[in-house]
């Protein structure tokens, strides 16, 4: 697996509060997983760094508390 950051990568963004499945579209097709502790995981491929920043900006503009953003190995 290439570790170059300009390659598409799978990211997992963890925010506080549950989001309904209808938000999938809004977040560019990221999968939405609701955790029992009240957090939401947004998981999916992100084209590049610019797209990642765009995603984080969307989270910011919703006023959603961001807990973490990590790069994960694709399954």
């Amino acid at each position: 697996m290439s570790s170059r950051l300009d390659q598409p990568m799978v990211y997992q963004i963890r925010v506080k509060g549950h989001l309904g499945p209808q938000w999938t579209d809004w977040f560019g097709g990221l999968a939405i997983t609701l955790e029992d502790n009240g957090e939401t995981l947004l998981t999916g491929p992100v084209v590049d760094q610019a797209a990642l920043h765009g995603l984080l900006r969307q989270v910011r503009d919703l006023g959603m508390p961001l807990i973490s953003a990590v790069r994960v190995k694709p399954p």
Partner: protein, 911 residues
């Protein structure tokens, strides 16, 4: 400048009735207002804007407000709005900045900001500038501009920035220096008691202490959350059960609450809210156009929504324009996205309404969002003239680049405009390729008066002038690239296509043709052609354009040895400017700068300084784009004439950095000017290095464009002979000078002839042959006397003094020679005086004359900027002097330098 300024962006939101009084935060804002910057940094919905407007209402300082949007990432637009907002409290400031921004190639942002700062300094009262929503600006250039502003913030100004993310400013430095006051999310959250006061006092809810605590905990004091919760509860009897399900849910607070709030609204209100959420700003008629629902009135809806506290913010006092709270709008848009409504259709309708109401920028924005590219392309094509005039190339280019390329290529007018815009920002190759796209349409169309079927043209009148526009653009491109014959060919084609009486149309290709003749060295044709073109501008009322070419005309006269006529050229343009009245037109400062240089050449240093001062006083606003470069070169010349060779070199370095390739021929390259100074300093290695780097040789073919360099090469060779005594050097120099003389005479360039003759005289003198020297000297004196030349002789110093004395004994131009000798003597006396005047300096490395001068001005309390203005030096040069002064005195700062210099007796002790 004609940038449309939206007043709604400058609207200072009035304090809202019935809000929680947050005295602890108000108090902190008041305390922080004595620092430079207050940063209010927290996520959406934390009451940032409300808090600032509360504080401003109770504070006695006037405030300027600017709500930023994405468009403000364009630095030109940002600055235009910054000025517009400041004008709400000081109506007459910023004129200078606006006209600088209005020039085709605005000067570097730093000089625009310096002008702005000087103008801000005239505001007599303490005041506040608020930049709201700074997070939407995503541009390094704007961040840098703001950092510069903060670094030089006038003492009476306080800046407040409200943002969702820390701005890209030197925050830690500001913190350390105690110049920053901060309010962050933790400060802005409602405390439990504020939450209670809000829910009960403001929203009129009757809740138990436990309910309030539960809501406060669930929302974590997030004001937007509490507000939505309160609105949800207002219509309910069973607040407690609402609170139970809300606090028991894991749902994202806003997601949950917006659902609740919307659920309580009627169908028509819900539709209205969702459909209008695509709009950045709302007004009744716009909403009507977007909704297309005759049964509802947009204005009434907006008033109802405001009345119901549904997160709408008025943008003026007339209740005409509104916007949704950003957070609320975001959630509405997400829901709209889910609904069956066609978002594209909404944007198209919004675009249509904006177009009908003459708001191009918004019309284009919505067309692009809707991806209705045909529509967007037409709007963008039609907006070019206005955007070009208001210099918003960056934004306009952003629009065109958002269009599919094949669509742009199908539109000849759009392609030509694209080409000009690209050339304006220096992307010559890309510009040329777009020009070719446009041209292809002309080749395929036999009849150029009507657009053919396949091509798309929205402005048919403009289309008829397409061949001319293309030819002019080609001429411009060729001229910037130094392709003289190309310029001549294209400019002539444009002129052939234009009727004789289209004075304005002919002016642009005419001016380019004049510049091409100039570059080729045909000064008579160049002067005549350029003067005609400038007259064309003048006849059609384009005075700024008419005077913009004055220095070209004057420079040609100087090379022709007609100093007096060059002076009259500037004076004529100045009269033209005077007739227009105040404020001085763009380009006026250049006229004084030009006069300054000519008076200097005539040996009148005082008059030269006066003109230079006048050009500086006019402020940088009366300048055009190449001002920073030209002004540095002029100051360097003045420093050189005063024997301050290091300063001259600093200024020339600066000029070299500032130089931008333009259609104006570079007939006196800065590198050659620097070499002349090196020769004066005896820095032969550097001078030879220049000649080598430029590939100059005495065997070169001669051309006007390189004439100046070849004359400097002769000087370098003479310096080499002086230092090393090799006959080859002087013989080569003499051979080169003889050829140069012939070429300059053939071209009628008597200004150059005089200098070449002077050098020939000096070369003979170097070889000890005074009588051979007298011959060229006599000729140069005869040519120079009627024009009043002084520096061209005096600059040569002692050897010239010897030669002139000899000329005097031979009775050559006796009055003139006497005057020149007096000037040389005065100069020698001056430099003697200079070299003996310094006080004893108990320093390992004594301060230079200039450093002492700077130090004295520091001791008088002048700022670096004031010193730079007083000494006609670049700010960076002064800073360089400061560093050297600090180093030599082993101190860190200005105040220490003064104390140390006094204790060492370098400066007189204070009484």
């Amino acid at each position: 400048m004609s940038t449309p300024i939206l007043a709604t962006k400058l609207y200072l939101p009035p304090p809202r009735p019935g809000v929680v009084l947050r005295s602890r935060l108000i108090e902190r804002l008041s305390q922080g207002s004595h620092r430079r910057l207050t940063l209010i940094c927290a996520p959406a919905g934390f009451g940032k804007t409300t808090l600032i407007s509360e504080w401003l209402a109770g504070c006695d300082r006037p405030a300027a407000w600017l709500s930023l949007d994405e468009g403000d990432s364009d630095p030109t637009r940002f600055l235009a709005y910054l000025v517009a907002s400041l004008r709400t409290i000081a109506a007459d400031i910023g004129e200078g900045v606006l006209s600088m921004l209005g020039s085709p190639h605005p000067p570097p942002t730093e000089s625009v900001l310096t002008t702005l700062l000087n103008e801000i300094n005239t505001i007599p009262d303490n005041f506040v500038l608020v930049l709201d929503d700074y997070h939407v600006v995503d541009a390094r250039l704007v961040d840098d501009a703001l950092a510069f502003l903060l670094d030089h913030l006038p003492p009476r100004m306080h800046l407040i920035i409200a943002t969702r993310e820390d701005p890209n400013l030197p925050l830690s430095r500001l913190r350390v220096r105690g110049q920053l006051s901060e309010l962050r999310a933790a400060d802005l959250r409602f405390t439990p008691s504020e939450a209670g006061e809000f829910l009960e006092g403001v929203m009129g809810l009757n809740l138990s202490a436990e309910d309030i605590a539960a809501l406060e905990t669930r929302t974590e004091g997030w004001i937007a959350g509490l507000q939505l919760a309160a609105i949800s509860m207002q219509g309910r009897k069973d607040a407690t059960s609402f609170i139970e399900s809300f606090t028991g849910s894991h749902h994202f607070v806003l997601d949950y609450l917006v659902e609740e709030v919307l659920g309580q609204q009627s169908e028509s209100i819900q539709t209205f809210l969702l459909s209008t959420s695509v709009l950045d700003r709302l007004c009744g008629p716009l909403c009507d156009a977007v909704l297309l629902d005759p049964s509802a009135s947009g204005q009434e809806m907006l008033e109802y929504i405001e009345h119901s506290n549904l997160f709408i913010v008025p943008l003026d006092d007339e209740r005409r324009w509104y916007r949704y709270h950003h957070l609320f709008a975001e959630l509405l848009r997400q829901r709209l996205h889910q609904s069956a409504t066609s978002v594209v259709e909404l944007h198209v309708r919004a675009s249509q309404w904006y177009e009908d109401n003459g708001l191009d920028m918004e019309a284009i924005h919505h067309a692009l969002v809707a991806e209705d590219f045909e529509r967007a392309a037409s709007l963008i094509e039609l907006s070019w003239r206005a955007m070009d005039r208001s210099l918003q190339f960056a934004m306009w280019l952003g629009w065109v680049k958002a269009l599919p390329d094949e669509l742009v290529r199908a539109r000849p007018m759009l392609s030509v405009a694209y080409a000009w815009a690209l050339m304006d920002v220096g992307e010559l190759e890309a510009g040329e390729s777009r020009l070719r796209d446009a041209e292809r349409w002309l080749e395929t169309t036999a009849d150029t008066s009507v657009p053919s079927a396949e091509m798309v043209v929205v402005d048919e009148e403009e289309f008829r002038s397409l061949p001319v526009t293309i030819a002019s653009a080609h001429a411009y491109l060729a001229q910037v690239l130094g392709d003289v014959s190309g310029t001549v060919r294209h400019a002539r084609r444009a002129l052939d296509l234009l009727p004789e009486d289209d004075h304005l149309g002919r002016a642009i290709p005419g001016a380019l043709l004049g510049l091409a003749y100039w570059e080729s060295g045909d000064l008579e044709a160049a002067h005549r052609t350029l003067a005609d073109a400038l007259m064309g501008f003048q006849m059609t009322g384009n005075i700024v354009a008419a005077i913009s070419g004055t220095y070209g005309l004057a420079d040609m006269r100087v090379d022709q040895g007609r100093l007096q006529e060059a002076i009259r050229t500037y004076e004529r343009s100045l009269r033209l400017v005077m007739e227009q009245g105040e404020p001085a037109l763009q380009g006026t400062a250049h006229l004084y700068l030009g006069l300054s240089g000519l008076r200097l050449e005539q040996g009148d240093l005082e008059a030269a300084k006066q003109h230079m001062l006048k050009s500086e006083e006019l402020g940088e606003h009366a300048t055009s784009p190449d001002w920073p470069y030209r002004s540095c070169v002029a100051k360097a010349r003045m420093a050189e004439a005063q024997g301050e060779l290091d300063d001259a070199l600093d200024l020339l370095d600066e000029a070299e950095r500032l130089y931008r390739r333009s259609p104006v021929p570079d007939v006196r390259p800065v590198a050659a000017l620097k070499t002349r100074v090196w020769v004066g300093q005896g820095r032969l290695t550097e001078a030879l290095g220049w000649a080598c780097e430029r590939g100059l040789s005495v065997a070169d073919d001669l051309s006007y464009l390189r004439e100046f360099e070849h004359i400097v090469l002769a000087r370098v060779l003479m310096a080499e002979y002086r230092s090393e005594g090799a006959d080859r050097s002087i013989l080569e120099a003499m051979g080169l000078l003889a050829r140069l003389l012939q070429a300059a005479e053939a071209g009628g360039r008597m200004g150059r002839v005089i200098e070449i003759l002077v050098l020939q005289a000096l070369a003979h003198h170097m070889q000890g042959d005074i009588s051979a020297a007298l011959q060229p000297l006599q000729r140069s004196l005869t040519l120079a006397e009627p024009e009043g030349y002084v520096r061209i002789f005096v600059d040569e110093g002692t050897p010239m003094a010897r030669l002139l004395s000899e000329a005097a004994t031979h009775g050559i131009t006796p009055d003139y020679t006497g005057r020149l000798l007096a000037a040389l003597e005065a100069e020698a006396h001056e430099s003697e005086h200079k070299s003996y005047s310094p006080p004893d300096q108990p320093l390992a490395e004594p301060l230079s004359q200039r450093e002492l001068e700077v130090l004295r001005l520091i001791a008088q309390g002048l700022s670096n900027r004031e010193i730079s203005e007083r000494l006609f030096l670049a700010l960076d040069t002064i800073k360089g002097h400061n560093r050297r002064i600090f180093g030599k005195l082993s101190v860190q700062r200005r105040s220490e330098a003064v104390v140390k210099a006094r204790s060492l007796g370098i400066l007189p002790h204070q009484n």
